[in-house]
Amino acid sequence: CTEHYAEKYYNRADVQKAMHANVTGIPYKWTACSDVLIKNWKDSESSMLPIYKELMAAGLRIWVFSGDTDSVVPVTATRFSLSHLNLTVKTRWYPWYLDNQVGGWSEVYNGLTFATVRGAGHEVPLFQPKRAFILFRSFLAGKELPKS
């Protein structure tokens, strides 16, 4: 229910003033998700894989992670999609660790790192904040997730 807290907080006049927000008097309440936008969304590319290939070739660091208790965009969806890239494995599938527990699993390809986060839902940092933090720190450092 955490998004209900945000709906309360960001609709307060003192909060909007402190954030220099809503200066034009938007004619609707602030809300976490806009029904109008999602119901009327027009162009949506069917696949991101061509862009992935192009940006991998350009040398960008690309990490894809997946909380493994999400059923909306689940880990198997991402694995099927990435498998379609036919990437070369650099570091074979291994469990990554945090606090002597398996934080998830990871496989490193030429140009892309994939990692799962064990026990996390769609919003990984909400459900597994420490594991998400280690994932982020490893990404910024360009280092593989810890093997022990």
Partner: protein, 262 residues
């Protein structure tokens, strides 16, 4: 810059005392239609001038990076259940980087348009275009971040926003050996990636996690081809709706083992 100082947040209501700086406000991305995007920028807790810059985008499409990314995922504050005060997030990502949250596209959260028809013809293309304009103008307002190592992060439908914006930036600076927006990479989570493979993988997850019956699994695979974008058959819709309405039960589909929000 003066504009930067006008956006400085002295303190949020109910906020604990912190040492890092934060700014929020609007950047116009289209004068003709009057589209302006709202951002919240939270500097790193220590030596921000040495830390990378990370743009965080939530998905939806139509959902707010302030509501999710900043307030319940990676930001420094959590909102208490009464909505009256904030407490610190021990694993905030702004210990490692300067974090920029963007409410995109116009119509999300505090981001607005003066042309109401914009709200019913948004899509991937204009969202990426406006986000690039936003970034170019944001770096003008925060010149101390020009040339800084820059990353984009996001989840869910931002599995579209993030690579599409990354491509726009890459193309924009293709001829520039010293780009102001110094994009080094991106990271996405539970990301919408490829309609066909995502679709097959989603139904496979439902079956392999015992959320649906064999009968329903076969029915969905037989009736849904996942290839035709935006066009599904009635039989496909009926199969998926039966699964959700009669077999899932009252669960939080975004986290199937934790309590659903009543």
């Amino acid at each position: 810059t003066k504009e930067q100082e006008l956006d400085r947040i002295s303190a949020l209501p109910g906020q604990p005392t912190v040492t890092f700086s934060q700014f929020s406000g609007y950047i116009t991305v289209n004068e003709e239609h009057g589209r302006a995007l709202f951002y919240w920028f939270i500097e790193a807790t220590s030596i921000p001038y040495k830390k990378p810059l990370v743009l965080w985008l939530n998905g939806g499409p139509g959902c707010s990076s302030v509501a999710y990314g900043a307030s319940e995922e990676i930001g420094p504050f959590r909102i208490d259940r009464t909505g009256s005060s904030l407490y610190l997030n021990k694993y905030s990502w702004n210990t490692e980087a300067n974090i920029l949250f963007l409410e995109s596209p116009a119509g999300v959260g505090f981001s607005y348009t003066n042309t109401s028809s914009d709200l019913i013809d948004s899509g991937d293309k204009r969202t990426a275009e406006d986000a690039l304009v936003f970034l170019i103008r944001w770096f003008s307002r925060f010149p101390q971040y020009k040339y800084r190592d820059f990353y984009i992060a996001g989840e869910s439908y931002a599995g579209h926003y993030v690579p599409q914006l990354a491509k726009k930036i890459h193309d924009y600076y293709k001829e520039d050996s010293h780009p102001i927006i110094n994009l080094k990479g991106f990271i996405v989570g539970n990301a919408v990636t490829d309609n066909y493979h995502d679709g097959i993988g989603t139904v496979t997850f439902w079956w392999s996690h015992s959320m649906i019956s064999d009968t329903t699994y076969r029915s969905i695979l037989n009736n849904c081809n996942f290839k035709d974008d935006n066009k599904t058959s009635k039989e496909c819709d009926d199969s998926v709706n039966y699964a959700i309405n009669h077999e899932f039960g009252y669960i939080d589909q975004y986290s199937i083992y934790t309590p659903a929000c009543i």
